[in-house]
Each structure stands twice: as structure tokens, then as C-alpha cells.
């Protein structure tokens, strides 16, 4: 078995099958969360409330997609499959993202009558982003050294994103009545799903035992503390204990929204996955 408290390389990780299985499951959670939410961000391109925001939002979606790519590449190194195949050829039930990130941006399709909800996008990105912050901070102490290393790098970029969403939340919550109502409705909608973010999935026990990341309760408490501060700072009422969706995304249960997103995002690649694109 060997000592798995500090794993420097993929080869070393592979010495222990249970360790690899736990690591893979966690990496899919990290990759799929970022990948799907970045995809939702990319659907906003050209439709944001003003041109400056269009540019900024797109830049953040690229960072997030870049983070997903790094996690998929790590899975590729572990021998799970090609990063592009992992992102685009798996069926919905193989995805480990939380339900919150797969929900549509609003009614309609990105290129056909999109009636997108800006308040929902702000709140979703911010609430998810605060959780991601807690998660990345915890990953710095991961037993898998390569994961600790990339997480440290991601944190720098990620802190800038959070500042961006903070400005938005503060502005919208403290401006017009319409904006306030929309933000409150968005919080209610996001909050109904947000409780799943700290779920580490069916392999949670081994993920934590191997020191890959801190336990669910600790992640949740830290995230709630930060979120509480933020809501208070924006003058928003605390929505209480976050809910969980009906499906458990971390266990591969997903909504029709993910199925249609996967169809769209893999449409070209699936024409011929063996071809070079």
C-alpha cells in the first residue's frame, strides 16, 4: 500500500487503486463543475448587459474553462482517457458536477430566443465562486501534490473573479427595486441547489481519508461563513440552510439541462472524435 499521505506523482498514486479511484472521482467533480459553468458562461457571449461586461465575463469563463482543462488533463495523465474525450464523449450519468452549475441561464437557447436571467447568473457565479474559493484553499493541503500545486495557481485568478461578482451583487442589491427583487428571487433559486456544492459524492469517505481534501462539513461551514459575510455586506437577508436538488449530481444523477448542454458542446467533436480538429 505504501504511505499515501504525500503523493508526488501519478505513478506513485497508481500504486494504490483505492487512492486512484478516490482521486479520479474528486477530479471529475472539480473538472465538471468548472467545465459546465464555463459553458453556461460562454452561452452569454454577446448578450451581457453592456459591452464592457461581455468582455469581462467572457474572460472569466475562459479562466474557468482553463481550470477545467487542467483537471481533465490530470485525469488524462492518470490514464482515464483523452482530456477532450472526457469533456465531450461521456454521457450525462458519468458527470459529477453539482446540479447548480448545469441549470440553464434562463428560458430559450443561446442562439434562439434566449431570455437569460442576469441576476441568476451573478448570484450563481458568486455563490459557486465562494465555494470554489474554500475548495481551492483546502486543496492546497491535498495529499496529491500536483493537485495542490495547480490549486494554488488557480486561486490567484479566482480571487479576481470574486471581486468582480462582489461588485455586481452589491450594486444590484442596492439600486432599484426591480434589481433588488430580481436578486432576491435569484438567491432563492440558487439557494435551493447550493447545498449540494460541498457534497463529495459516493466516494466522500475515501476522498477525505486519503487527505485529498478536507471533509464536507468543514468545507460547508467555511463556505457558509464567507457567504454570510458577503450577504451581510450587500445588505441581503440570510436565506438560512441551503437546500439540495432532487437529483444528486455528484452521484451522476442529472437534469435534462445537462443532457442538452452536452449535446450542444460536443456536437462538432462527435462528428468524428477520431479526426483532428
Amino acid at each position: 500500500m505504501g504511505d499515501m499521505s504525500r503523493v508526488e506523482t501519478v505513478e506513485q498514486a497508481k500504486q494504490n487503486q483505492e487512492y486512484v479511484q478516490a482521486l479520479m472521482d474528486l477530479l471529475f467533480q472539480l473538472a465538471d463543475d468548472d467545465f459546465i459553468l464555463a459553458y453556461r458562461g460562454s452561452e452569454w457571449l454577446g448578450l451581457a448587459p453592456h459591452i464592457e461586461e461581455d468582455v469581462a465575463f467572457s474572460s472569466m469563463s475562459q479562466d474557468m474553462m482553463g481550470h477545467a482543462a487542467m483537471f481533465y488533463e490530470m485525469l488524462e495523465e492518470l490514464g482515464v482517457g483523452k482530456a477532450d474525450d472526457l469533456a465531450q464523449l461521456r454521457e450525462a450519468k458519468a458527470f459529477r458536477n453539482a446540479i447548480l452549475v448545469e441549470r440553464k441561464n434562463g428560458i430559450g437557447e443561446y442562439n434562439d430566443d434566449p431570455h437569460y436571467d442576469w441576476a441568476y447568473s451573478i448570484v450563481r457565479n458568486y455563490v459557486y465562486g465562494l465555494h470554489k474559493l474554500v475548495r481551492l484553499e483546502a486543496l492546497i493541503n491535498s495529499s496529491f501534490a500536483p493537485l495542490a500545486l495547480v490549486s494554488r495557481k488557480m486561486l490567484t485568478e479566482h480571487r479576481y473573479h470574486l471581486m468582480h461578482w462582489q461588485v455586481w451583487l452589491k450594486q444590484l442589491a442596492n439600486s432599484t427595486d426591480t434589481a433588488r427583487q430580481k436578486v432576491e428571487a435569484a438567491i432563492a433559486k440558487v439557494w435551493a441547489d447550493a447545498g449540494e456544492l460541498s457534497d463529495l459524492g459516493p466516494k466522500a469517505e475515501s476522498i477525505v481519508r486519503f487527505g485529498l481534501i478536507a471533509g464536507e462539513d468543514l468545507l460547508k461551514q467555511k463556505w457558509l461563513t464567507k457567504t454570510k459575510e458577503v450577504f451581510k455586506g450587500a445588505g441581503l437577508e440570510w436565506p438560512g440552510e441551503p437546500g439540495k436538488p432532487q437529483e444528486r449530481g455528484r452521484a451522476g444523477e442529472h437534469t435534462a439541462d445537462l443532457v442538452s448542454a452536452l449535446e450542444t458542446l460536443s456536437e462538432v467533436y462527435r462528428i468524428d472524435p477520431a479526426a483532428s480538429w
Binding site: 460562454s42 457571449l45 454577446g46 468582455v55 482553463g66 444590484l172 439600486s175 434589481a179
Partner: protein, 322 residues
Amino acid sequence: MQAQIERSHLTEDEKLEAFLARIDRGEKIEADDWMPYAYRNQLIKLISMHGISEIMGALPEKEWVPKAPTLRRKLAIMAKVQDEMGHGQLLLRVAEDLMAPLGKTREDLMNDLFTGRLKFHNVFHMAAPTWADAGVIGWLVDGAAIITQTMSLDSSYAPYARALHRICAEEKFHAQHGESIVLELAEGTAAQRQMLQEAITRWWPSLLMFFGPPENGTITSNQEQNMRFKIRTQTNEELRQAFLNKYVPRIFHLGFTLPDETIHYDEATDQWVYQQPDWEEFKQIVKGNGPRSAHRLKLRSMSYEETKWVRDAILSFGRQAG
């Protein structure tokens, strides 16, 4: 020099004369300098059309952003379309400064776009039904844009020239991005090559139209004025010839064909001879009657309307913050 023009004892005619003398000396005009109304007007027309075209130009490629085939391509095309929006932003700021003395704002420009008063480039009214179209847009449409913009790098209006310097540097990157998609398809499977051939065939007339109708010896008053003001230095046909020179050999070299059997380079005149596209159709397209004009305008106007509450909120927050 500028100080002299502003001296109030000069008549309008004398101011114009002094302004034209500055242009002739190759001096650059800044936003706060005195300029004749015609100069300002030509610049507003040109730059707002250019800026709005960048923004509307994001839409055909936007269709392919979520569908780009690999993680690398997904990242690249997002960055590319983001740049286009950024160019739009940069240019609209230049136009806003020019419009300010006339009391017009960005919102007026958006409304002009929605009512059809402000036109955008013919290419962005066209359909982009396959991934290869995204490649052809990046390679050939951006390639065509580089040719016209390079001409304007030396524009007499300094803020426009400065914006274009930045834009051109990024556009070269975009053309490489497009070329990379195209080369991958060109070296790919038979189906990929066919997809690319169809896209080239589909885009050819639009690419010829991109530069505007040929002058055939008669230069329009607009063009004449723009040349006199050194806003532009080349004619539509000169720009189109430069495009053909650069890209037709490359297209043939990759083993693709153009939907024009007559196209050839005439050594005697040093000119490409080619079949004219349907210029009547061109007029219809830029009027807003192209195949995707209504769809894309609707997408833009709908998103603009539905996010009005957000812009209102920002304004309200700004007022409160004082």
C-alpha cells in the same frame, strides 16, 4: 498650429483652410482639436459602423463558441470573440468622443442599429451553418479586415489610428486562429475537407463584397472626402486586389476551388480578373435584408432590452454613491 486654428478671429473658411493644411502636412488630429463638421461626420459614420460591425460580428462566431470541438478550440474561440467585443468597445469609445459635441451617446448608436439607420458589414448578415464557417470567418473575413484596417493605421484622426494599432495586432492573431482551424480541416478527413470547401464556396461572394463596389473610375463623394481628409488612402478595388493577391493563391495551394472559373491574375494589368458578385444583392444585405440580418438584430435588441433593468440599476447605484 492647432492654437492658431482656434483663434476666434479666423472665419470658418480660414479655419477649414488651416485644417486642410494640417492634413496636408501629415499632422494628426486629436479629439479636442478643431475640425470641420464634414470631417467629424465622416469619422462618426466610419467608426461607429466599424465598432458596431465588430459587435455584430461576434454573433456569427458566437453560434460556434459553445460547440467548438476541443478544449483548446473552445478556449481559443472564446478569446477571439471576446476580442471582437473588446474592439467594438474601443471603437465605440472613439465614436462617443466624436459624437459628444453633437449630444449623441452610445445608446443612440444602439438605437440607430435597431432601427436600421446604422449599418454593419455585409459579412455579418450571412449564415454560418458549420464549424468550417467559423474557420473561414477567422481566416478570410478577419484577413480582409486586416487589409482595410492596415490602410487606416495611418488615418489622419489619431484616436482612430491608435485604436487600430491595437486592433490590428489582435486581428493578426485571429487570422492565425482561423487559419489554424482551416488547416486542421484541410489536412483532415474527406468529410472535413468537404465541409471546408462548402464554407469557402459559401463565403466567396460575401468576401468580394466586403470591400464595397468597385469604383470603375468614378469615386463617390464620400470616398473623395475621406481621401481628401486622409481618413482613407486606398479605393475599394485597390483593397480587394490586395486581398485577392494574398488569399487566392493560398486557397488554390490548399487544393480548394472558388465558385468562379474565370478568376485569374492578369500579368499585363497586374490585376486579378474575377466575376463580380451581385451588387444589387449587396445593397439588400447591408440594408438589413440578408439571410441572418433579422435574426441577429433580434438577438442583439432583445438582449439589450431585457438587460435594461441592469443598466438602470448601475446608474441608480452610481447616483446614490454620488
